[in-house]
C-alpha cells in the first residue's frame, strides 16, 4: 500500500501544479477575452483600418439648354521623390534596358512645363518631396504615367472648370483654389452645389491590399446638386462678343446688355464687357470680377421717359392725343430752376408720343408733374426701383429712390426724365418687362432650380407678379414707344427689318462730384415684336470716350435683339404700328 500511497501523493502534487497553471491561463484568458477585450479589439482594428474622406463632387451649373457652364474636374499636382531618382531598368524578352535619368528628364520636361535644366535642378538632392508641376490636366497626367517613372507620384484634387471661358462668367462667379466659392452664383448657391463629404472605413492587409467586405461607410457621400440657369449660353456669348467690340471701339469703361423673356420673366442673357473669365479671375481687374448689371447703379436719363408716359396714361392724366408745350429751354417757377432739351429747337407742341420720339425733357416734365409726387413714387416702386430684385444677387445694389417727401423742386421735375434717381440694369430691364407684359411685372428668374443627383428638386424660386399698369395703358405705351424707332433721329437705328420694335434712347450725364461732368451713360432699352412682345433687350454703355448721344447704344441693341428673335424663331410682324400722333405739333407722322 506504501507504494500506492507515494504514487498517489506525487500524482496529487502534479495535479495541483496543473490546476494552478490552468487557473493562471484561465485568468489570463478572461483578462484578454473579457476584461480588456474591447480595448484590444480596438487597437487591432486601428492598426488594420483606414478612415478615408470621400469628397463630394461639386455640382454642375448648366444653361437653359443643359449646356455645362461649370463642372468639377480632377487636376493633379506632379511630385517627385528626389531621394529615389535613378535610372529605370526594364527587362523585355530577356534583354535588360536602361533609361538614364537624363533620358527621362528630356521626356518629362515638356509634360511638366519645365526646361530640362529646371527639371534636373528640382530632381537634385535627397529629399522625399519636390513639386514638379501643379494642376496638370488629365491628359498630361496620363502622358506622365505612361512614362512609367517609379519616383513620380501624383496628388489628385477636384478643381472647377468653366468650359465656355468668360461666357456668363460675371454671373457664375468663381471658386478659389481651395474649393471655396468666392463670387457670384457659385457662392450664392453654395449650399446646393457643394454636396456633403462622405466617410468610409476599411481594413487592409500587411501588403496594403484592402480586405474585401471590410469597408463600412460611416457617412454617405452626397454629391452636389446641378444648378440650372435661365441663361442661354449662345445668346449670352453673342451679346458679350458684341459688347466687347463696343467697349473696344468706343473706348468705354464698361457696357452691359440684358435680355429678358417677356412672358416668363426669365433672364436669357446678362452680358457685360469687360467680363471675368472664372477659370482665371486674377487676370481681370478686381472691379470687373462681379456683375455690373446687378451691382452698379447709374442715373438712367431718358430711358425713364417711357415709364413716365406709362404713368401719365395709366393715371389718365392725358391720352395719346393731348399736347403740352415743349420749348427747348424752360424756366421753372422757382429760383435757379430750368430745364433744357438736348438740342435747340423752336417751341413744339408735343403729345406723349412726340415727347418720346423727340426725347424732350421740357415736354416730359410738363406731362409728368401733373401727377402728384407720391403717386409717381408709388409707380416707381412698383416698377421695382429702390429695392434689390428678388434674385438677391450678391452685392446687388438697390439703386437710389429717395422718398417723395425728400424730392426738392428740381428733383420733382427731374425724376420724370430720369435724373435724381439711380437704377441698376436689372431693375430697368424688368420695368420694361412690365410694360411689355401687359403691365404685369414678373420677378426675374436667373436660377430655374437646383436638382440633386437623384432628381430631387432642392431649390426652386417662387415667382411673384406685380400689376403695375393696366393692360390697356401698357399696350398703348408700347405703341407710343414704337414712334421712337419709327421716326426718332437716333431711335431709327434700332429698327429691325421685318419686326415692329418699340424702345427708348437714353443719354445720362454722369455726376462728377456735385454737378454733371462731360461723360455719359448711354442706353437703349426696347422690346420686340411690339404687337406681341417676346423680348426686352437693354443696353447700357458707360463712359464712352467722346460719346455724348445714344446712337452708339442702338447698334448693339439691334444686333442682340435680332439675334434673340432669330434664334427663338419669332415670326416677323405682319401688322403696322397704329397711327398715333408724334410730330412736332401733335400731328401723325407719315412713314416713308
Amino acid at each position: 500500500m506504501g507504494k500506492h500511497g507515494s504514487l498517489n501523493r506525487r500524482f496529487g502534487a502534479f495535479a495541483l501544479i496543473l490546476v494552478v497553471m490552468v487557473l493562471g491561463l484561465g485568468i489570463r484568458l478572461v483578462d484578454y477575452q473579457v476584461v480588456r477585450a474591447e480595448q484590444i479589439r480596438e487597437e487591432s482594428f486601428k492598426s488594420r483600418s483606414i478612415t478615408q474622406t470621400l469628397p463630394a463632387l461639386r455640382g454642375q451649373i448648366r444653361d437653359s439648354s443643359g449646356q455645362v457652364l461649370a463642372r468639377t474636374v480632377f487636376r493633379y499636382d506632379v511630385n517627385a521623390a528626389p531621394k529615389n531618382v535613378g535610372s529605370i531598368f526594364k527587362t523585355v524578352d530577356g534583354v535588360r534596358t536602361e533609361r538614364t535619368v537624363e533620358q527621362i528628364v528630356l521626356e518629362l520636361a515638356p509634360l511638366v512645363g519645365l526646361t530640362p535644366e529646371e527639371l534636373t535642378e528640382r530632381l537634385a538632392g535627397d529629399s522625399e518631396y519636390s513639386n514638379l508641376a501643379k494642376k496638370v490636366d488629365a491628359e498630361t497626367y496620363n502622358a506622365i504615367r505612361e512614362l512609367g517613372i517609379p519616383w513620380i507620384y501624383f496628388d489628385p484634387f477636384a478643381d472647377r472648370l468653366y468650359p465656355n471661358g468668360a461666357v456668363a462668367g460675371n454671373v457664375l462667379g468663381f471658386v478659389g483654389s481651395d474649393g471655396v466659392p468666392l463670387a457670384g452664383l457659385e457662392r450664392q448657391y453654395n449650399t446646393c452645389l457643394a454636396g456633403i463629404d462622405g466617410q468610409e472605413t476599411f481594413e487592409r492587409s500587411a501588403e496594403g491590399v484592402r480586405i474585401p467586405t471590410s469597408n463600412v461607410i460611416t457617412q454617405p457621400t452626397q454629391n452636389g446638386g446641378t444648378l440650372n440657369l435661365s441663361i442661354d449660353a449662345n445668346l449670352q456669348f453673342f451679346a458679350q462678343q458684341v459688347l466687347a467690340d463696343t467697349v473696344n471701339d468706343l473706348d468705354a469703361q464698361w457696357a452691359s446688355a440684358v435680355v429678358v423673356e417677356v412672358e416668363t420673366g426669365r433672364l436669357l442673357a446678362a452680358a457685360e464687357a469687360p467680363s471675368v473669365d472664372p477659370n482665371d479671375p486674377a487676370a481681370s481687374d478686381s472691379k470687373d470680377r462681379g456683375s455690373k448689371i446687378f451691382q452698379s447703379a447709374f442715373e438712367p436719363g431718358s430711358i425713364m421717359k417711357s415709364l413716365t408716359t406709362a404713368m401719365v396714361l395709366d393715371t389718365k392724366t392725358a391720352d395719346a392725343y393731348d399736347k403740352v408745350r415743349a420749348p427747348d429751354y424752360m424756366k421753372l417757377d422757382f429760383a435757379g430752376g430750368w430745364i433744357k432739351d438736348s438740342f435747340g429747337h423752336e417751341p413744339y407742341n408735343l403729345t406723349l408720343g412726340g415727347v418720346l420720339r423727340f426725347s424732350s425733357n421740357t415736354g416730359m416734365s410738363n406731362f409728368g408733374v401733373k401727377i402728384d409726387k407720391s403717386t409717381r413714387h408709388n409707380y416707381l416702386q412698383k416698377f421695382g426701383f429702390g429695392s434689390v430684385s428678388p434674385l438677391r444677387f450678391e452685392g446687388e445694389s438697390s439703386g437710389i429712390l429717395h422718398d417723395y417727401q425728400d424730392w426738392d423742386k428740381m428733383t420733382n421735375h427731374a425724376t420724370t426724365y430720369g435724373q435724381g434717381i439711380s437704377v441698376t440694369g436689372i431693375q430697368m430691364a424688368y420695368a420694361y418687362q412690365a410694360m411689355a407684359n401687359d403691365g404685369v411685372r414678373l420677378d426675374p428668374i436667373l436660377v430655374e432650380n437646383c436638382v440633386s443627383e437623384d432628381g430631387t428638386i432642392l431649390y426652386q424660386p417662387k415667382q411673384n407678379s406685380t400689376r403695375v399698369l393696366s393692360k390697356q395703358s401698357a399696350n398703348l405705351n408700347i405703341n407710343l414707344m414704337e414712334k421712337v424707332v419709327e421716326f426718332g433721329g437716333v431711335g431709327q437705328n434700332a429698327g429691325i427689318d421685318g419686326y415692329r420694335v418699340a424702345g427708348k434712347t437714353g443719354t445720362a450725364q454722369i455726376k462728377d462730384g456735385a454737378g454733371y461732368g462731360s461723360q455719359f451713360a448711354i442706353s437703349f432699352y426696347g422690346v420686340a415684336p411690339a404687337e406681341n412682345p417676346k423680348f426686352v433687350v437693354g443696353v447700357t454703355i458707360y463712359k464712352a470716350v467722346g460719346v455724348s448721344n445714344s446712337l452708339q447704344a442702338t447698334f448693339p441693341f439691334k444686333a442682340i435683339m435680332q439675334q434673340a428673335l432669330k434664334s427663338y424663331r419669332v415670326p416677323p410682324s405682319t401688322s403696322k404700328s397704329p397711327d398715333l400722333p408724334s410730330g412736332k405739333f401733335g400731328e401723325v407722322e407719315t412713314r416713308n
Partner: protein, 153 residues
C-alpha cells in the same frame, strides 16, 4: 482523481480504432485545405477588385479627358470661330415658313458681310482660355487673330 489498474484484455478493448483515427486526420486535412482554398479565392478577389478599381479610375480619367474636349468643342466661341474659319456669315434676316398656310414670313436675303448684324467676330481674349493640352482644333483657337478688317454693320 484516481488511477485504475486494468487487464491486458481491457487495454486492447480501449485502444482507439485505426479507421477512426484516419477519418479524424483526413477530416482535419480537408478542413485546412478548404480554408486554404477559400482564403486563396478571397485574396484573389481582393487583387481582382483592386485591379478593377484601377481600371475604373483610368476609365474615369479617360471620360474626363473626352468630356473636357467635348465641352470646349461645343462652346459657342469655338463654334463661332469654326464657322468664321469656314467663311460662314450669320444671316440676320429672319425668314420663317408656315407650311400649313403656305406663307413666308420675312424677306429672304442672302447672307453677306454687308448685311450681317454684327461682323467683327474676332474672338476676344477672355473667350480663349482653355485648359492646356487640348486637341489640335483648340490649339488653333489660341492663335489670336488681328482685329477683323471688316467694317461695323
Amino acid at each position: 482523481m484516481a488511477v485504475y489498474m486494468v487487464s491486458q484484455a481491457e487495454v486492447k478493448k480501449l485502444r482507439p480504432r485505426m479507421t477512426a483515427g484516419l477519418i479524424f486526420v483526413a477530416g482535419i486535412a480537408v478542413v485546412l485545405l478548404g480554408q486554404l482554398v477559400l482564403n486563396m479565392v478571397l485574396t484573389q478577389d481582393a487583387y481582382h477588385l483592386r485591379s478593377l478599381k484601377l481600371e475604373k479610375r483610368d476609365l474615369n480619367t479617360q471620360v474626363q479627358i473626352l468630356q473636357e474636349e467635348v465641352d470646349s468643342l461645343a462652346s459657342p466661341q469655338n463654334l463661332a470661330d469654326a464657322a468664321n474659319r469656314l467663311g460662314m456669315v450669320a444671316n440676320p434676316a429672319s425668314v420663317l415658313l408656315d407650311i400649313e398656310n403656305d406663307k413666308v414670313f420675312g424677306k429672304p436675303k442672302p447672307a453677306s458681310a454687308a448685311n450681317a448684324s454684327w461682323l467683327p467676330m474676332r474672338l476676344w481674349e477672355p473667350f480663349l482660355t482653355f485648359p492646356r493640352q487640348r486637341s489640335q482644333a483648340l490649339k488653333c483657337l489660341r492663335v489670336s487673330k488681328p482685329r477683323n478688317q471688316l467694317p461695323l454693320a
